[in-house]
């Protein structure tokens, strides 16, 4: 069998991203979300415009899916297959980080936990698989929002620190896309912090978010940012899961 053509895989990812994004996207946003160089992304988007699968807004210069895409359909990754492929890697992450780990996907506008690994300390914990998380108030949700997830965010305040301002959230989401991770510090539950990174499907499209949850003292440094070692372990785990997804 012939090897897959990388540029076509990437073009497909651009289309998938644009088709689920709540608004039109610029080249920089697309490039950051897919983890591609800006020049590469620009070439792909221009080509897709040529064939009518993508359109450029003449006013803003931003992109949306074109009419040519209307006939094309695509099935998302099955969440149970995703869990099956991710389980071993996320178990390893939970052991190394000594914290609980969750995997979440966007489902009908909601952030749904599809896998949960207990913190390895044998304290009483309950599986949260199937439960919802507020998109605007958790790291998992922010990763999905920042990468084109069509999610309802009603800005309900859960704690004093919940981000309830749309503009402030938008600024944060740009940063999330830019640096490749999201953080929550007591925004959903007092005394709890979380760090999450995107899990990418074939072509680079974000299909899920994986994250570690724990107390702020354990997850964050003095500067309030997540420990670099934790970000690295999380990066290794999501890279491994993404590699599994690329093989199916």
């Amino acid at each position: 069998m012939a090897r897959p053509v990388q540029s076509i895989e990437r073009a497909a990812a651009v289309l998938e991203l644009l088709s689920t994004a709540p608004a039109e996207m610029g080249v920089t946003e697309l490039a950051e979300s897919l983890g591609l160089a800006k020049s590469t992304t620009h070439g792909i988007v221009r080509t897709l415009c040529e064939v009518g699968l993508v359109e450029q807004d003449p006013g803003t210069g931003r992109y949306r899916v074109g009419r040519g895409l209307a006939e094309l359909g695509g099935a998302p990754v099955d969440v149970h297959q995703l869990r099956s492929l991710a389980a071993n890697w996320l178990d390893g992450l939970a052991v190394r980080a000594a914290e609980s780990v969750r995997l979440a996907v966007p489902e009908a506008g909601r952030v749904v936990v599809v896998h949960h690994v207990f913190r390895p300390d044998d304290s009483r914990q309950v599986l949260e698989v199937g439960t919802e998380r507020p998109a605007h108030a958790c790291a998992l949700g922010k990763v999905l929002l920042a990468n084109g997830g069509q999610l309802a965010s009603d800005f309900t305040p859960f704690t004093r620190r919940t981000v309830t301002d749309a503009r402030r959230l938008a600024t944060e989401l740009t940063a999330v896309r830019h640096r490749g991770w999201a953080v929550e510090v007591e925004e959903r539950v007092t005394g709890e912090a979380g760090v999450a990174r995107p899990v990418r499907g074939r072509g680079g499209r974000v299909v899920a978010a994986a994250g570690v949850t724990g107390t702020p003292e354990r997850l964050l440094g003095r500067d309030g940012a997540p420990h670099p070692w934790l970000l690295e372990q999380l990066a290794d785990a999501v890279r491994a899961v993404s590699a599994e997804l690329a093989r199916i």
Partner: protein
């Protein structure tokens, strides 16, 4: 002792792996190589012993390299192996007599029927704790000696050696033709149908009945013992444990005490329940087997029951019905409905095994109505594994008089949360998944590290076992018992389908 790491070799049916664990029993690195499967005739399955030994020589250094460790960092080596697979080899040259005859191979079926006709079934059940079936190693040894002229005489002179896979590996690791030690452990020896479960020694009557000379057989040792020091592959490293893979998984799940049980959900499912220092006889067709033995201590026994068709039913649903593209998608499909809609699938593809033992049964789908969708079928497929688990657990508890407080699970199907929840619901006890999924290798490492003194006692190992997930029973007793009664009525409908002389 300089070394703080343990090497676990898992010599399995399709591959050989080496996993390095650190002294807190955390996974450090793995290397794995697959080997060829030979199917020279229908029902025959063979492996090349020389290829498997060569693969051990590849995976051990590779796992150490990936861990950034040297042999000086290693305290001990443990082996877990595919059970009931037989190797015969020449003591002087180390050359295998033939390919290994694998546990899935049914070439000894006629031979076992003749033994049954000779009235040996009761003796095998009483002495060995095994049903008289072609599944076990002894008749394969006998077959190899019959198939090669002069082999039995060479075996009687001790020139030709017999053993299960761990014997072959220990002999080669400890020097092969130049002083290799010919050993087996109680868990592997007990699967030959040649060992008395009480004395844990070769039984002369059974040796005579199967015509296997004692001189060709390995010395039976405790699971955790000084099996020798490796001179090949890992020179200088003490080999301190060898055990069958399912017993290794039981040990890796820290099921040391009576009433503790694990189930490995894969293509089939293997359930083992630790019963204590006395073998518990089964009146329900289960296997009585040593679970482990520490040198100088009495052996600890277990009851074992296997489910032939578990994940295999999901594979059938995927490949033969084409209703899903990948096995995990069965959960997606099953969750499109609330319940099984009254539909049950009994996967008696090759008859029913424990606790029924009915070779005349064939698979049935019952309760079909116009209402049933593929979602209901998907539920029924997953529930079939759960109800079969319940049957085996019930038989085990009846035979042992023990109660079950929790079931520890491992294997690929534990990623299916709907199945795990259903198992908890039909058993009425919590189901727990450990953080280290590689329980076979972990068990070999635990056993080897214990014997080498890396850990003072098994209780310390319990502190290294961590729960990664847990499913609690969520259904009422009425739901459970009504569902079980329906399942049992479905099983009845699968019986007697095969007619004499018409094998399908």
């Amino acid at each position: 002792m300089a070394g703080r790491h343990v090497l676990a070799i898992d010599q399995g049916t399709t591959s050989t792996r080496c996993i390095v664990f650190d002294r807190t029993a955390r996974f450090v690195s793995v290397a794995q190589v697959e080997h060829r499967q030979f199917h020279p005739r229908p029902g025959w399955v063979e492996h090349d012993p020389a290829e498997i030994w060569a693969n051990v020589g590849r995976v051990v250094p590779e796992a150490l390299r990936r861990a950034g460790l040297s042999l000086d960092d290693v305290a001990a080596l443990g082996i877990a192996n595919q059970r009931e697979t037989v190797v015969a080899w020449h003591r002087r040259t180390g050359a295998p007599l033939d390919r290994a005859v694998v546990w899935q191979d049914v070439r000894t079926a006629d031979r076992v029927e003749r033994l049954a006709a000779d009235g040996l079934a009761d003796r095998v059940r009483e002495r060995c704790g095994l049903p008289l079936a072609p599944y076990f190693a002894g008749p394969r040894m006998s077959w190899l000696l019959d198939a090669h002229p002069g082999a039995r005489a060479a075996a009687a002179r001790g020139e030709l050696l017999l053993g299960t896979m761990e014997s072959w590996l220990v002999w080669n690791l400890t020097g092969g033709p130049s002083g290799g030690r010919h050993l087996t452990d109680v868990t592997n020896a007990s699967r030959t149908m040649l060992v008395d479960l009480e004395t844990l020694d070769w039984d002369d009557e059974l040796l005579a009945a199967l015509d296997v000379p004692r001189a060709a057989l390995p010395e039976i040792r405790p699971t955790m013992d000084r099996h020798g020091t490796a001179v090949a592959v890992a020179p200088g490293v003490p080999i301190t444990a060898a055990l069958g893979d399912q017993q290794a998984a039981l040990f890796g799940q820290t099921c040391f005490a009576p009433g503790e049980a694990k189930c490995t959900f894969g293509t089939g499912a293997f359930l083992l329940l630790t019963t204590g220092e006395r073998p518990a006889a089964s009146t329900h067709g289960l296997i009585t087997t040593p679970a482990y033995q520490l040198a100088g201590r009495p052996p600890v026994y277990a009851l074992e029951g296997s489910i032939a068709v578990a994940g295999a039913l999901v594979q059938w649903f995927r490949d033969n019905l084409g209703l899903i593209r990948s096995a995990p998608e069965i959960e997606t499909l099953a969750r499109t409905v609330e319940d099984n809609g009254g539909c049950y699938v009994v996967p008696a593809f090759a008859g029913l095994f424990a606790p029924h033992w009915r070779s005349d049964a064939r698979g049935v789908v019952v309760g079909l109505t116009g209402y049933i969708t593929k979602g209901h079928l998907a539920r029924a497929v997953l529930e079939a594994t759960a109800w079969q688990t319940r049957e085996v657990v019930d038989a085990m508890l009846a035979d042992s008089g023990l109660a079950l407080a929790e079931l520890k699970v491992d294997g690929g199907m534990t990623a299916d949360h709907l199945l795990m929840q259903t198992v908890a619901d039909v058993l009425g006890v919590p189901v727990a998944r450990p953080m280290v999924a590689e329980t076979v290798s972990l068990g070999a490492a635990y056993a080897a590290g214990l014997a080498a003194g890396l850990w003072p006692d098994p209780e310390v190992l319990r502190r290294h076992w961590h729960r990664a997930g847990e499913w609690l029973p969520a259904r009422s007793r009425e739901w459970r018992e009504e569902g079980y009664a329906d399942w049992q009525r479905a099983v009845e409908r699968s019986l007697g389908w095969v007619r004499e002389g018409r094998p399908r």
